[in-house]
């Protein structure tokens, strides 16, 4: 009786989770499906599969690439994302190591400052930040990497700190005896151990930086269009939107981040759980 009711519960649970998963995947599938349809049919039959009449082949893609300057936008997005993620992983791991290993009021204050920065919404600081960025000549792709470092460091330092606490200090002492100074100890011993957390931090930051629209729009505007900004330009005047090209470009925009996520996803759980339990 109990076994049977457990089985029924399992089935219900699976059904609910499958429905939830479908809900999450549906928008992506709809975008993918519509990217191959003629633009007129996208608005009239958005949920139908492409048929012989509605199928547009790769026309939406070629049109989108031509209209948006997608290749250059892709390049800038890639540069900003890779640059920001690299800088976040490098500096935040070093900061977290310092905060965790050097016990003082200053490091304790630093830690809480980073944690606090996680709860400050972007909208609260966006105008002052834009002004400051302009004043400091950070309104370019290199400058925005520095701004992303600021916005990404809260969560990243928090995650790195959690993991570093679980690394026995003796490993670092062994490295000191083996002939390492602090820099060599970090890069040869500590950083390789941080790999799961570093990958998790990289994925989480890459996803939001790649998809971010507001910050690059406010800081660098249309001088160096990133992918989300370039796609937005498909919205013409008087509300006209080239839906076909937009769907096609959205598909192209999603691909890199999905591939990155899938190739590193096994580290996410490892990285998030790391530091939670002392091993």
């Amino acid at each position: 009786m109990t076994e049977k009711s457990e089985k029924i519960k399992d089935i219900i649970r699976i059904c609910i989770l499958t429905a939830a998963a479908l809900l999450f995947v549906a928008p992506v599938l709809i975008v993918l499906m519509n990217s191959f349809k003629e633009k007129l049919f996208i608005t009239s039959e958005p949920f139908k599969l492409p048929s012989a009449d509605t199928f547009a082949g790769l026309r939406n893609f070629t049109e989108g690439l031509r209209k948006t300057g997608f290749i250059s936008a892709f390049g800038w997005s890639l540069f900003i994302t890779v640059g920001s993620v690299a800088v976040i992983v490098l500096f935040c791991s070093m900061t977290a190591w310092y905060i965790t290993r050097v016990k003082s009021r200053f490091t304790s204050f630093l830690y809480y400052a980073f944690v606090f920065s996680m709860i400050v919404p972007f909208q609260m600081v966006m105008f002052t930040m834009t002004k400051t960025a302009n004043a400091l000549s950070l309104d370019n792709p290199l400058g925005i990497i520095l701004i992303y470092l600021g916005f990404g460091s809260g969560l990243s330092v928090f995650m790195f700190c959690g993991f570093i606490k679980s690394i026995p200090l003796e490993i670092e002492e062994a490295a000191m005896i083996d002939g390492c100074g602090p820099v060599r100890t970090f890069f040869s011993v500590v950083f390789p151990i941080l790999k799961p957390t570093a990958i998790t931090v990289a994925i989480l930051n890459a996803m939001w930086i790649w998809n971010d629209y507001l910050l690059p729009y406010l800081v660098i505007g249309s001088d160096y269009k990133t992918v989300p900004i370039a796609i937005q330009y498909l919205r013409g005047g008087y509300g006209s939107v080239d839906m076909g090209a937009m769907m096609a470009m959205l598909v192209l925009a999603i691909i890199p981040i999905v591939v990155f996520y899938l190739s590193c996803q096994k580290y996410i759980i490892k990285g998030v759980a790391a530091g939670a339990v002392k091993g």
Partner: protein, 363 residues
């Protein structure tokens, strides 16, 4: 190869806690010295100061002829084995062992030769490609030792390296480390809280308590001539029995009057220091093997056997008496059983006497 000299070494942490108090110690070249004591006695702190992992607050520390108070660990030519092994988890066994040599810019073929040689000594040649997580506790221990061996250091420092192993493996590794010391013929400083480990491995044992060296001597000397009650109680298992007594003199002989009866002190044990306690309180210390359950006619005491522990080759009797609990290590042929009243006696030629106030030995 090098000697180690600690001159008036103190370690005081911020906040004023004195972990090591005025330690003076001379460790000879190629000597195997064991620092032993209960938790918090300062033995690990002393070792870490020798390693350079803790600053010396006051005093002078020499490795060989060189004062190393301000020398970083990497320049002290030492190797250390940690309690948790501290292997680099992302590196293979080979890389773990080679890492220190790479840092010291040793040529690659020389590194390979040394790692292979150390692996052969420790029997871990087949594990060189594995990562630490794929090793058992004993194997990790060997790798940690291997990492120290390949460095060919002047001094080996070992911080409770066997405490994470099970009893059987610990005994085996004890012998291995002792053999390794003979083979490498270099200075070893070993920290443990296990007095059996200390007794079986060290050329010399340094007993510490509350940051102070209580006695530094050979295992045999520590056992037969402990300088105070702490050392007497710490060294030896089961631990020494302590009995309160008052020394009396009757007809030219000295007697020790306890709550449980009176025992005669052999004339050979009496000297100026001992006779000074006439009419005063004194502590008797008796090793369990010096308590006999087959007494003669003299010095007989009585008690009740609380517990009798059969160990096969010997029996431990825990005797309840007016003097408190007395532990006796007796022959397995004993007739004493739990609950029985027995007569016992002390081997008076082997008893130890201590001052109850200072706890120092009276000899």
């Amino acid at each position: 190869m090098a000697s180690i000299t600690l001159k008036n070494i103190n370690k005081i942490y911020p906040g004023g806690f004195r972990a090591v108090n005025n330690v003076n110690l001379e460790i000879k070249d190629k000597e195997f010295v064991v620092l032993v004591g209960p938790s918090g006695c300062g033995k690990s702190t002393t070792l870490r100061m020798i390693a350079g992992l803790e600053d010396v607050t006051q005093g002078e520390l020499y490795i060989g002829d060189k004062m190393v108070n301000f020398t970083p660990p990497k320049d002290r030519d030492i190797a250390m084995v940690f309690q948790s092994y501290a292997l680099y988890p992302d590196k293979t066994v080979y890389k773990n062992m080679a890492f220190g040599l790479e840092r010291h810019k040793v040529p690659k073929d020389e590194i390979k030769r040394r790692v292979d040689e150390a692996a052969k000594i420790l029997g871990i040649e087949h594990l060189l490609d594995r990562k630490p997580k794929a090793l058992s506790g004993g194997q990790r221990q060997r790798v940690a030792l291997g990492r120290a061996i390949v460095r060919d250091p002047k001094v080996f420092l070992l911080d409770e390296p066997l405490s994470n192993l099970d009893a059987k493996l610990r005994t085996a590794m004890r012998t291995e480390i002792a053999k390794l010391h003979k083979r490498l013929d270099t200075t070893f400083v070993y920290v443990t809280h296990d007095q059996t480990e200390a007794m079986t491995m060290g050329d010399r044992i340094v007993v510490m308590k509350d940051g102070v060296v209580q006695q530094a001597d050979t295992p045999h000397e520590l056992y037969i001539n402990p300088c105070n009650m702490f050392v007497a109680g710490f060294i030896g298992s089961p631990q020494m029995n302590f009995v309160d007594a008052v020394m009396k003199r009757k007809e030219g002989s000295y007697y020790l009057e306890t709550q449980n009866g009176t025992v005669k002190l052999p004339d050979s044990r009496v000297n100026e220091n001992v006779s000074a306690y006439e009419g005063k309180k004194i502590k008797i210390g008796v090793r369990p093997e010096d308590v006999s359950d087959e007494p003669g006619k003299e010095n007989v005491l009585t008690g009740t056997v609380e517990v009798s522990e059969q160990l096969g080759s010997e029996v431990y009797l825990y005797i309840s008496s007016p003097d408190g609990r007395i532990t006796a290590r007796v022959s397995p042929d004993t007739t004493a059983k739990t609950g029985s009243i027995i007569k016992y006696t002390f081997n008076m030629n082997k008893i130890h006497l201590f001052d109850p106030q200072t706890q120092e030995a009276v000899r």
